[in-house]
Symmetry: C2
Subunit: 343 residues, 2 copies
């Protein structure tokens, strides 16, 4: 059969497919519901069992962790949160970045800081913590951010949290990580450029536009309080992706107020709890995106949190194009997660 005949013979197919553009970066995602599952079917993914090894964070000193950088204690004297250097740092502490180029290529030493932020209870993930305990985590994030942001060769600080083995958590004991690095992250650079471009063309801040529109239409909202709104973004890269964005224009995470720390801890806990409840404690990553600490101003940016549950495998198409394909509409995901909080 010739190619022409094949083309002639083809039948019309009616799978729905939508290309949605990220309003900040301009990147694309595909929402293709042809292979659609019901929201609750996403809970039935294959799970890798956690290693049942000893917990090195139960008693950090005894298990050979380095000395605490920061420790918070309860009234009874027991610790509730501690921060110490990562035993296997991706960046080498206290060094000055030194050029390591080769031929046409540019490289430098990986100078920076890599720390671990551990909450005491090995069994309660952030989805299960009280709001005050979550606020304490944000206290620690902020305290370490402020301590590192002016260090030599620190230009960006990335705070993130891996939950579940499939999401890269090598230990089941809940912990966040902080990396203070000499370069601006490429993803942040895209958001900074996008936020600036949006402002120049509309005279409006793009994250303000998003929070207002989502708060008004409500169809992608999971949780909202006075200071923060948690919603499935219009151009979700994975089913059940969640963003948490503040209502006060503020590019810089480190300028979060105490009141806001409680509000964001509540929004994060509610979001993670909706995933825990609705998807049977799925693996996820969440992270803070904030303006660089490189001495420049980024007035049109907005710090925020992104939660990315591992609901799909990014394969050849996603890895080659940077366009993620999701099989669930963000509106359906939000409706499902919202219903978990009301039940």
């Amino acid at each position: 059969m010739s190619l022409g005949e094949a083309e002639k013979n083809k039948k019309a197919v009616s799978y729905d497919s939508e290309l949605r553009q990220d309003i900040v970066t301009g990147d694309w995602v595909v929402i293709a519901t042809g292979r659609a599952k019901r929201p609750d079917e996403f809970a039935q993914f294959q799970r890798v069992a956690a290693d049942d090894a000893e917990d090195p964070f139960e008693n950090p000193e005894a298990s050979g962790q380095e000395q605490d950088i920061l420790i918070y204690r309860r009234a009874d004297g027991d610790w509730s949160l501690r921060v110490f250097p990562n035993k296997y740092p991706a960046f080498s502490r206290g060094r000055t970045a030194r050029e390591l180029s080769e031929g046409p290529y540019f490289a430098m030493t990986g100078a920076g800081y890599h720390e671990v932020i551990v909450t005491q209870d090995a069994r309660r993930s952030l989805a299960l913590l009280d709001v005050w305990e979550g606020a304490e985590v944000f206290d620690a994030y902020q305290e370490r951010y402020l301590a590192l942001m002016n260090k030599k060769s620190v230009n960006y600080i990335q705070i993130f949290h891996n939950h579940g083995k499939e999401a890269g958590a090598s230990l089941p004991h809940p912990h966040s990580q902080l990396m203070a690095i000499p370069v601006i992250s490429p993803y942040i650079a895209l958001e900074l450029t996008g936020a600036e471009r949006y402002y120049q063309s509309t005279k409006r801040k793009v994250y303000g536009m998003i929070t207002e529109y989502e708060s008004e239409t409500k169809k992608r909202v999971i949780f909202e309080n006075e200071h923060f709104i948690a919603f499935c973004p219009f151009a979700s890269r994975a089913a059940f992706e969640i963003w948490i964005v503040g209502k006060r224009a503020n590019p810089y995470f480190e300028r979060i107020t105490d009141e806001e720390k409680f509000a964001v801890a509540e929004a994060l806990q509610r979001s993670l709890y909706s995933l825990y409840q609705g998807l049977n404690d799925p693996p996820y990553n969440f992270y803070i995106h904030t303006a660089p600490c490189d001495g420049k101003d980024y007035p049109h940016y907005q710090w925020h949190i992104e939660i990315l549950p591992h609901t799909a495998t990014w394969a050849g198409f996603e890895l080659s194009t940077g366009i993620e394909v999701s099989t669930l509409q963000p509106e359906a995901a939000a409706e499902y997660l919202r219903s978990q909080l009301n039940s």
Copy 2:
């Protein structure tokens, strides 16, 4: 203990960490060998068993696949390769892209083409094919590319291959996929911009610079023939990443010659075989990066293949920053893979 004391008490650590910059895009990777494994230890990762279900590609018509768009036959009449539409397309065939915006957000219908390219033997992956069989795969890639590149609402064509369940291959029968889409992929846009920037500042083509330098120094080379060079890129995003780049300046994959098809099939087969042999048939994705088919010229770009084995989990840091952390030096990876071909 105060923060100051903690800072004073810290010991110098000596983990090696290096930030390497991708010469094309300007993006960063971290090579952190503190947690280093020997190259052969990467073969010992946990593997998800393939489903032992029926093979819908053994007899595509009988299993309800749509009619072939293209079929190659052997002398004995049996098929050796066929192309048909993906049963669950991410893009809807034969439609014109239509705007689907909502409030401040932009979206459009996912118009395009999504095809599957299947080789006959269910058990022999591309690593195990003869070179002429591999060349036939490139024949099919080119033939379908040419047939689709001028279609309405096709501006970019992505050809890719998923191998192994962890790499997103839903079926073990070897198959590639082609998606013809209305938008330029963000990753291609980064490479086009980078190639242009490099040319403007040096008056040299960046991919020509890379192939010449790698061919000369040889330390990252896995395989080389008259027309192509396969090597672990200086800024590898994952252990054992491989790029295959042509020696003739050519931005457009569809202009590959017959002689080059044999040469690239040999380079790809040798590269995949070195992974198969050295890492115990690991899961991987490979894909072609080529200039868009949007009617514009991209004279300083170069089409090429990237092979990304699943040797690491991209977790919170990678997903939040776009900076990948790898624990193996590309030079050590290349030496190991090279040795697989000589044994």
